[in-house]
C-alpha cells in the first residue's frame, strides 16, 4: 500500500502532463483542470490500498474514463441545448462550439525571447496536430509515446485489445506525420534522421 507521501510525489510528477493531455482532448483549460483534479481525488479515494507502482496505469485509466464521462455529459447537454434552442429559436447559443485556438496558449503567458519564437510556433503546430487527431488515436499516441506505457498497459488503460492499440498508434503516427508535413514540419526539421 502506498503512503500519502508516495501519492503526493506521484501526482506531482504526473499532474502537468495530465493537464496538458486533457487540454488537448477537451480544448478547455477550466474543464481540463476539473477533470485532472477529479481524477486525482478518485485515485486517492478508490485505491488507497494499491501500491505506488500501480499508480501510473490506474491514474491514466481514471483520467481517460473521466474524460469519457465528460464527453457523455457534453453530448447529452448538447442534445438538450439543440432541442431547447429549436423550440425557443434563440440564435445566441453558439458558445458551445469551441474554437481550439482559444486554448492554444496555455502557459505561454510569459515573454518569449525572439530566439524562442520559432520553437514556440513549432510547438503550437504540434499541439494543433495532436488536437486534430481522432480521440482514440490521440489517446494511444499520448499513452504510448508520452507516458511511455507498454502496449499491454496502454491496452488496459484504454480498455481495448493490444492489437487495437498497435493499430491506433500506427494510424496516429501516420496522421501526425502527414499533418506536420502539411504545416511544413518535416521529420528532419524535428531532428529525426532519415
Amino acid at each position: 500500500m502506498a503512503s500519502s507521501e508516495e501519492l503526493s510525489t506521484f501526482l506531482q510528477g504526473v499532474e502537468r502532463r495530465a493537464f496538458k493531455q486533457t487540454v488537448y482532448a477537451v480544448r478547455d483549460e477550466h474543464v481540463a483542470l476539473d477533470i485532472v483534479q477529479d481524477s486525482m481525488l478518485k485515485l486517492a479515494q478508490k485505491y488507497p490500498d494499491k501500491p505506488a507502482k500501480e499508480y501510473p496505469m490506474l491514474f491514466q485509466r481514471i483520467l481517460q474514463n473521466t474524460m469519457r464521462d465528460f464527453w457523455r455529459r457534453q453530448k447529452v447537454r448538447n442534445v438538450w441545448t439543440t432541442l431547447l434552442s429549436s423550440f425557443t429559436g434563440n440564435k445566441d447559443d453558439g458558445d458551445d462550439s469551441w474554437d481550439p485556438l482559444e486554448t492554444m496558449d496555455v502557459g505561454d503567458e510569459r515573454e518569449t525571447p525572439s530566439s524562442q519564437l520559432e520553437s514556440s510556433q513549432t510547438m503550437q503546430l504540434i499541439e494543433r496536430a495532436i488536437e486534430k487527431l481522432p480521440p482514440r488515436q490521440r489517446e494511444a499516441f499520448i499513452l504510448r509515446y508520452w507516458e511511455e506505457l507498454s502496449v499491454a498497459e496502454t491496452a488496459e488503460a484504454m480498455g481495448c485489445s493490444e492489437g487495437s492499440v498497435k493499430t491506433h498508434c500506427s494510424r496516429a503516427l501516420h496522421t501526425m506525420a502527414a499533418l506536420l508535413e502539411q504545416q511544413g514540419l518535416s521529420s528532419e526539421y524535428l531532428g529525426v534522421k532519415s
Binding site: L7, L33, Q37
Partner: protein, 132 residues
C-alpha cells in the same frame, strides 16, 4: 478528417518522430502558468487529504499506521473476532483476580492465623483431633 496518411517515412522514423514530439510536449508541459500550477497543487493537496482519511491517520512516514487501519477496514470480521476474544480473556482474568481477592480476604478474616493455612500438616492434624 481529410489527411493524406501515405507518407514516405518508415515505421522506425515515425516512432523516432513520435518520441521527439513527446519530448517537446513534455517541455511544453513544464511551462504552465502559475495560476494553473496553483490549482493543480490544490487538487493534489485535496487528493492527499482524502487518501489520509481513507487509509486512516498516517502518522509514520513509511505509512505503517495507515497500513494497520486499512487492514482493519478490510478485515472487519477478523477484527471483531480479535476484539471479542480480548474481551473474553479480560473477563476471565478479572474473574480469577476477584477469586484470589476473595480467598485473600477469607484468609485474613479467619480466626486461625494465616500460617496455619500454609502448614500442610495442620489440616490432617485438625481432622484427626476432630474425629476423636
Amino acid at each position: 478528417m481529410s489527411t493524406d496518411n501515405t507518407n514516405h517515412q518508415n515505421p522506425e522514423q515515425l516512432e523516432a518522430q513520435a518520441k521527439q514530439i513527446a519530448g517537446l510536449l513534455d517541455d511544453r508541459a513544464q511551462r504552465l502558468s502559475m495560476r494553473t500550477l496553483k490549482q493543480l497543487e490544490d487538487g493534489r493537496a485535496r487528493a492527499v487529504k482524502a487518501h489520509q482519511q481513507n487509509a486512516g491517520v498516517s502518522v509514520n512516514t513509511d505509512g505503517t499506521l495507515s497500513q494497520w487501519v486499512a487492514w482493519v477496514d478490510h478485515h472487519r470480521l477478523a477484527f471483531a473476532g480479535i476484539v471479542l476474544a480480548a474481551m473474553i480473556a479480560s473477563f476471565v482474568m478479572m474473574q480469577n483476580f476477584q477469586t484470589s481477592e476473595t480467598s485473600d480476604a477469607f484468609l485474613l478474616g479467619a480466626d486461625l492465623p494465616p500460617e496455619a493455612f500454609v502448614d500442610r500438616g495442620f489440616e490432617p492434624s485438625l481432622n484427626r483431633h476432630t474425629n476423636i
